[in-house]
């Protein structure tokens, strides 16, 4: 229902009931609760053609705010949203390769959040909740980063560390979940049941939604596609295994693909993934043959691994997301589609669209803020918690 109001801008209770299939009584109760919470406001009346004029409601732009925090291996990106999930402020701080201790990362998160709140002129007291996405496996209930392979973090109590400085409800999850929720609410997953979001960053993984709902698996660690084996006895991976998908198509894997092809390439910025991937993207745009070859080689691995997802999961859509897809996605897409066409079975292949993430802004921050909105509504113990897709 909330997604419907967000999409409609202003809407009457009667219209919501008829569009969602909920009874008018249920809708009126829920709208009442949301008005009381300050998430919605009354914005006027609509002539009902003879009957009583109908009250119109909309998301309250001056209600609470939500924070979405994307902690990646190379940056911290914070966005501030109104309850309609419109961006109010956006801050990004770079993480240098040596800045991977929990206290360093926490300091960047805190300063980014403070600076986003200051930019928008919003105090801590107006924050309904903050969603934090960190790479790797997380224990949501405990607020703990269980394992972040690229930083070798084990059981870091991230929520407690952040709570010392940030006085707001904090909800921890990972980028795979955040990206899927963003696509389901606002992207290529809208109205679709079976969705795979392939996250291409430093680490890689696959966010999964089945039957229109986020799939977490038995212990919230489903989607570790980055650590499925593409090459038996292949490249050594941070996780301890060999030949993982991530070692060929994650940012450091792409750097290795470049090194294998041209060890002295000017595109290569040792110890700087971001600069290297950016240089490759510029190289592709300039028609450089080495950059094109790196894309082809990367697409050869990525296409096989995406075909594996299509054969196993039979999804309606595969979305390529995250910062590597943002930089190299246009170059990769056609080649990935061609490789998938040679490796996927005909029936699931025909049912799958492969596309780039089309969400403006940062989908991980957006998804993290959406989690915060959902958890806020559940946490206050109103029926409104049932309004949002339970994830």
């Amino acid at each position: 229902m909330l997604r419907h109001i967000i999409a409609s801008a202003t809407v009457s209770r009667q219209q919501i009931a008829s569009d969602t299939g909920l009874s008018l009584a249920t809708v009126s109760n829920l709208v009442g609760e949301l008005l009381e919470l300050g998430l919605l406001v009354e914005v006027g009346y609509q002539d009902s053609g003879g009957g009583r004029p109908r009250g119109l409601v909309a998301i309250n732009p001056n209600g609470g705010v939500l924070v979405g925090i994307d902690v990646a291996e190379t940056y911290v990106h914070v966005e501030l949203f109104d309850p309609a999930l419109t961006v109010l402020a956006s801050v990004e701080e770079e993480l240098h390769p040596e800045e991977n201790r929990p206290d360093q990362v926490v300091a960047h998160v805190v300063s980014s959040v403070e600076s986003a709140l200051a930019t928008a002129g919003v105090g801590h007291d107006r924050v309904l909740g903050a969603g934090i996405s960190v790479p790797g496996q997380v224990d949501r209930e405990g607020g703990v980063s269980v394992f972040a392979p690229n930083w070798d973090w084990h059981d870091v109590p991230l929520r407690s560390l952040l709570a010392r400085s940030l006085d707001m409800p904090l909800y921890l999850d990972n980028p795979l979940r955040a990206c899927v929720v963003a696509e389901l609410w606002f992207g290529a997953g809208r109205g679709r049941d079976d969705v795979v979001v392939v996250n291409l960053g430093t680490g890689v993984g696959a966010g999964l939604a089945f039957g229109g709902a986020l799939y977490r698996g038995a212990t919230n660690s489903a989607g570790e596609w980055g650590h499925t084996t593409l090459v038996v006895d292949g490249r050594l991976c941070h996780c301890g295994s060999r030949g993982c998908v991530e070692t060929y198509v994650g940012a450091p894997g792409i750097m290795q693909n470049l090194r294998d092809l041209a060890p002295n390439s000017p595109f290569l910025h040792t110890d700087d993934q971001t600069a290297t991937i950016e240089a490759l993207a510029r190289g592709v745009a300039d028609g450089d043959p080495v950059a094109a070859k790196v894309v082809t080689e990367t697409a050869r691995y990525l296409g096989v691994a995406v075909a594996d997802l299509i054969n196993l999961v039979n999804p309606e859509v595969v979305v390529l997301s995250s910062w590597v897809a943002g930089l190299l996605g246009d170059a990769l897409l056609a080649e990935v589609r061609a490789v998938v066409g040679r490796h996927a079975l005909r029936r699931p292949l025909a049912a799958t669209e492969i596309t780039l993430c089309r969400i403006a802004g940062n989908p991980v921050s957006l998804g993290a803020a959406t989690f915060a909105l959902e958890r806020f509504l559940s946490a206050i113990g109103t029926n409104a918690g049932g309004l949002v897709r339970q994830t």
Copy 2:
């Protein structure tokens, strides 16, 4: 509810209501419908301690019967069941390697069904429905085998071909789905949400259940794990791709593993998978070092591919099923667990049990008959269709 009655042998409406959480009125309506259909019978009364005595119901052993048909690459296995899914008769006919034309397979199915019915002394008129499992991808609604890679079948209208001789409702699906349903109702999947059944036969695949329900994907072709890539540019596969899991751990793949290790091994029965796998199983039991080596080599591939499933899906249980698991499963299990332990991530690994199928008899026939029961109940248009787990 039906599963509950099957498990309870005899039970009162009041007991069903209290155990299932359905209202007594709902249970009474549904029981009434099932009594009318002859699926249930009244079997006596239970003292209710002062009140009206409570009627007891049970599955009617003289009600209709269900047929479960497992068409594999090397045999046709037919089982006849009462509505409690107890086996009444069982028939198996071998399929020789050259017998892979649709008319040949259909002839074996028809003669097996006729002989099972004759053995049990049951006429066509008492058959509520027959579930048929065929390898590969199927179009359930059309009753068509869309693609069976090991036979190179394309768009074979199997249901129409069978309907010429078998006068009963016919429901087509594949062994991945049948095995999962059998495990959910009667095996290691009972009471579990996220279940993977690894089917090891001539072809291999993974049946998937999420949230306690069978997962089909967008076009009923989910679970084609056998055609995910284990070795980039590896062995050529029937599907046209290279390095598929199936080419290393399916029965012909295991024969190739044997050929690679000992080209002149007496275990090798050229063109006879069944005889070869049986000989290997006897060799393992006799402590033969070549047989043991083939198991180790096969487990090396199978373990990596099972670890991929655990990392991606994060299931509660992985069940090894089908005829190759029946013959070599005991030998494979410990080695597969060891390889999985080296390749799966710690968190999902800790949450997963890896086990052999413990269903007595043929789980594919059982699952196919369960489909027939579900579809029969839906097809007659009663509320009883809602009784069974929708698959």
